[in-house]
């Protein structure tokens, strides 16, 4: 420990230039910490934009009958809610954490390609603004669901080409970010930081970055084919011209299934980082965690058609995709067992990051169970496109990805700002979130099983009660998240006034390099690579 502390005093000699003064700092910055902050704040803003759309949906569904919006606008809301949450909130938030943490975790001074880093952020902003602008266009925003299936999506009004170009921009931004992360991890690790000594968050992002490079061009290709079908008389997806609408679905889900793992693998990484710290024990089965992550990533490329069991594939296809999908349960199970074994005979404390992480393990497992149920193709003929699947994927996204993003926020905020957040308020935020998220999504299982299709603006009266419960949960959950903003802002402005130690959390420096740096972290860190690296897991 003391050797490490001595070393970063050494850093101060190189600490000769700070950030650009004034507002321009946030426009031209190439500093990984500034760009990380930009990504995180942008993601948080989009989380509230997407959340507002979700509340419009839940308000309309509070009661049977149409009270607030037209069916067309309702469809725009479900579509835009998904696109904004996926591409504007969850993915950028994880890129924000990657920017902040990967260099500090591997002992690098910055990302490998800092200027590209800046460009990928601003391209993301451009892409999301372009997407948001479609809300004000003639014919409204895209209303075909975030999957943009033809032929329906081709009925979109003036918004269609803008939405497509927005996807292109978001894709370029993601690919640039992914290249940057891979280049950083492969080239800038401290000398003793071998691949199998990297923190799991770095590992999961490395694998995620490869997924992104593989899939974003596929999605860009698919939407470009939509563009030419609409404007240049091609017939990729039009049977009348020899094309096939189902072809689009195959291409889309070849992108779409790995895409959902882009949102969950870094989640696994942060959970694997937080749980050992508060269990005061090394992560159980480090290498099996790495292999399981790689296995999940590989499997994600060969299971796509389980999203489309009902399109009328030949039976051999249905069986293959059923078997392949079920295999995913094995590496995912290994991860859940490893987290449990990490807690087992630990010396646990339950600060807010740990609470969110435990809730993640439990509620993600519920989402995994319903995933296993849907893997069985004949049963999926009942579940498909009902609220059962809405419940499933929200369990794997909200109390999983979103909860872990919150956990990561509370976990690293003291390190980043040097100030402690208000633990009492944070715990209140956790309990409100954890309870309301279940009020929100658990009843949707019942609705789906009882026969309520998804993406409908109005429903038969027997679905009234659980929809009402779900909507109440949605509003409690949505407004609870304002607490997070309050707590973050308060922490940045000085927090509880208590000065945090370099380690912040007891024993954290044993787990990962960033806790060996001073709190708050200086603008430039690891100008010279650290000589000693934490060796918890060997």
């Amino acid at each position: 420990m003391s050797a490490i502390t001595a070393e970063h005093e050494n850093d101060d000699h190189h600490h000769d230039h700070g950030p650009e003064k004034g507002f321009l700092r946030w426009i031209v910055t190439t500093n990984h910490k500034d760009i990380g902050t930009l990504y995180l704040f942008f993601a948080l803003a989009m989380f509230f934009v997407g959340g507002t759309m979700a509340l419009i949906i839940r308000a309309e569904l509070f009661e049977p009958g149409m009270q607030f919006v037209t069916p067309q606008f309702f469809n725009s809301m479900t579509t835009m809610h998904a696109l904004v949450m996926v591409f504007g909130a969850v993915m950028p938030a994880f890129v924000g954490f990657a920017n902040w943490l990967i260099p500090m975790m591997i002992g690098a001074p910055d990302m490998a390609l800092p200027r590209m880093n800046n460009m990928s952020f601003w391209m993301l902003v451009a892409g999301v603004l372009l997407l948001a602008s479609t809300l004000f266009m003639e014919g409204g925003a895209p209303a075909s669901g975030w999957t943009l299936y033809p032929p329906l999506v081709l009925q979109t009004g003036a918004a269609l080409p803008f939405a497509i170009f927005s996807v292109h921009l978001l894709g370029i931004s993601s690919i640039m970010g992914a290249i940057n992360i891979i280049a950083t991890i492969f080239n800038m690790r401290a000398p003793k930081m071998t691949l199998m000594k990297m923190p799991l968050f770095v590992w999961t992002w490395l694998i995620t970055a490869f997924l992104l490079i593989a899939i974003m061009p596929v999605f860009a290709g698919a939407v470009t084919m939509l563009l030419t079908d609409r404007f240049f008389d091609t017939s990729f997806f039009d049977a009348a011209g020899g094309g096939d609408p189902v072809l689009y679905q195959h291409i889309f889900w070849f992108f779409g299934h790995p895409e959902v793992y882009v949102m969950i693998l870094p989640t696994f990484g942060i959970a694997s980082t937080i749980i050992p710290v508060f269990a005061r024990k090394a992560l159980f089965g480090y290498s099996s965690m790495v292999y399981a992550t790689a296995a999940i990533a590989f499997l994600s490329f060969i299971v796509w058609a389980h999203h489309m069991f009902t399109v009328g594939m030949p039976m051999s296809g249905e069986l293959y995709f059923m078997y392949a999908t079920m295999l995913i349960a094995i590496p995912t199970g290994v991860k859940i067992f490893n987290w449990t074994a990490t807690m087992w005979r630990g010396s646990m404390t339950f600060e807010t990051p740990m609470l969110f992480s435990i809730a993640f393990v439990v509620l993600f497992t519920l989402g995994g169970f319903t995933g296993l149920m849907m893997a069985l193709a004949p049963v999926d003929f009942q579940y498909h496109d009902t609220y059962f699947i809405v419940a499933h994927f929200h369990y794997t996204l909200v109390p999983a990805s979103i909860f872990i993003l919150m956990a990561g926020g509370y976990f690293w905020l003291p390190k980043w700002t040097g100030n402690m957040y208000d633990e009492r308020l944070a715990k209140l935020h956790f309990w409100l979130s954890a309870v309301s998220v279940n009020i929100l999504f658990f009843p949707q299982h019942f609705l789906g099983l009882a026969g309520m299709p998804r993406r409908i603006p109005d429903y038969a009266v027997q679905f009234s009660d659980w929809n009402m419960v779900s909507s109440v949960g949605a509003f409690i959950f949505g407004f609870s998240q304002l607490m997070f903003v309050y707590i973050v802002v308060k922490t940045i402005k000085g927090g509880t006034g208590e000065k945090v130690t370099d380690e912040v959390w007891e024993g954290a420096a044993k787990h990962s390099l960033e806790w060996t740096l001073p709190s708050p972290v200086p603008y430039h860190t690891f100008a010279t690579p650290p000589e000693k690296i934490p060796s918890e897991h060997f």
């Binding site: 009958g65 149409m66 037209t70 069916p71 469809n75 014919g139 409204g140 209303a143 669901g145 032929p151 329906l152 039009d238 049977a239 009348a240 609408p245 189902v246 269990a279 024990k281 090394a282 009902t310 399109v311 009328g312 249905e318 059923m322 079920m326 349960a329 094995i330 859940i336 449990t340 074994a341 087992w344 005979r345 630990g346 010396s347 646990m348 404390t349 339950f350 609470l355 393990v361 439990v362 519920l366 296993l372 149920m373 069985l376 004949p378 049963v379 003929f381 009942q382 498909h384 496109d385 279940n438 019942f446 009882a450 026969g451 299709p453 998804r454 409908i456 109005d458 038969a460 009234s464």
Partner: protein, 385 residues
């Protein structure tokens, strides 16, 4: 303290999962076919497997959370790897999966077998209604949301949906099938992708324009079974329900005879000369069922998306241009040439010229429409089965 709350929360969740078993309405329905019961059995099997695993994993986790905590003075152990347990918890789930896959494969094979079916019904999805064709008897009709639901579901209609019988799950003309008969369904669509789902039959199948999918059922109990479109198909996706009435075979035979009589009546109605007043009166109903959801009940349209009928240049102009547009469709406007019979088509064509604030004064006869419809080529589907 906090752990107790966590426990309480999880206990409540477990309890609600428990009621999912006890209370039938919260769970998947067993349905009325052998397939739907097989599917239900699989669903319960995998649900119990998940409950079993969940109790095990969460049990260990919460034991640990309760006992292995710093506040109880528990000192952390120092283990962090064991190849043996990693192998155990890889192999056991694999065995469980294999046990699940065997019955699932059996059901899948059974579902896929449409051979030896006794009759065939072709289902075509339209924005936003279903078309049914009984290929063996030639019975053919469209089925759309019933008028009461359609009125109540308009934005701020002022009608409480709870007062509408089978709100959003009632149609003007249900699909009628005989019980204990293996029926093959063929699915296709005219515009965008739809999906035909009646939960009691145990499956759903996508209806895809330009392609034909098949599935089969054999309903074991007479009754009325309701479902909905389950593939997002545009603004009125939530408003194209499915109603299947399964009848005992003699009742079904009677229904078939009735339908054939109706077809003859319709054919003679199509050749007789109609007065303008009769056409307008009939056209008003046709308009409400087919046109009002886009062009609005008062014909005002929706700015930017759906043109107004009132004072429309097309509707107040040359009648043959208007009829041509209705026959062949344009952009989002479906081709009604195949959707409406000659009487309904002539009636609604005449109604919009002489109602909704228009007063052109002319009319078109069903016989003239019939001739025009015959000139429109049938859509040819590519059957890849």
């Amino acid at each position: 303290m906090k752990t107790k709350q966590l426990f309480a929360g999880l206990f409540l969740m477990a309890l609600s999962l428990g009621t999912a078993q006890a209370d039938y309405t919260l769970n998947l329905m067993e349905g009325v076919t052998s397939i739907s019961r097989d599917v239900y059995g699989l669903h319960m099997l995998v649900l119990w497997v998940c409950v079993f695993i969940g109790v095990g994993v969460f049990g260990v986790m919460f034991y640990s959370i309760y006992f292995h905590r710093k506040s109880r003075g528990y000192k952390a152990a120092n283990f962090h790897e064991s190849t043996k347990v990693e192998i155990i918890w890889t192999v056991i789930p694999t065995v469980i999966l294999i046990l699940l896959v065997i019955p699932a494969t059996r059901v899948m094979i059974e579902m896929d077998d449409v051979a030896d079916s006794e009759m065939t019904i072709k289902v075509t999805g339209w924005q936003w209604k279903w078309e049914y064709e009984y290929l063996d008897t030639g019975i053919h009709f469209f089925s759309s949301l019933d008028e009461a639901s359609n009125k109540a579901r308009q934005l701020n209609s002022g009608i409480d949906p709870r007062t509408v019988a089978n709100y959003l799950l009632e149609v003007d003309k249900p699909l009628v099938v005989p019980v204990n008969t293996k029926i093959r369904f063929l699915f296709t669509a005219a515009d965008v992708i739809h999906s035909w789902w009646v939960p009691d039959l145990g499956w759903k199948k996508d209806a895809i324009p330009g392609f034909v999918n098949d599935a089969w059922t054999s309903v074991e109990k007479a009754g009325t079974y309701r479902g909905q479109c389950t593939e997002l198909c545009g603004k009125d996706h939530g408003f194209m329900p499915i109603v299947v009435i399964a009848m005992e075979k003699p009742d079904y035979e009677k229904w078939v005879v009735e339908q054939k009589g109706l077809a003859v009546e319709n054919a003679s109605a199509a050749v007789k000369e109609w007065t303008k007043e009769d056409l307008v009166a009939k056209g008003e109903k046709v308009y409400a069922n087919n046109c009002a959801s886009c062009h609005m009940p008062d014909g005002a349209g929706l700015a930017g998306t759906f043109p107004a009928i009132t004072a429309s240049a097309v509707v107040t102009g040359d009648i043959s241009a208007q009829v041509d547009l209705m026959l062949n469709g344009k952009g989002m406007m479906p081709a009604f040439g195949q959707m409406l019979d000659p009487v309904d088509f002539a009636a609604v064509s005449t109604f919009i010229r002489n109602g909704l604030g228009n007063s052109v004064g002319d009319a078109i006869q069903p016989s003239a429409v019939k001739a025009l419809q015959a000139a429109v080529p049938e859509v040819v589907y590519d059957d890849d089965e």
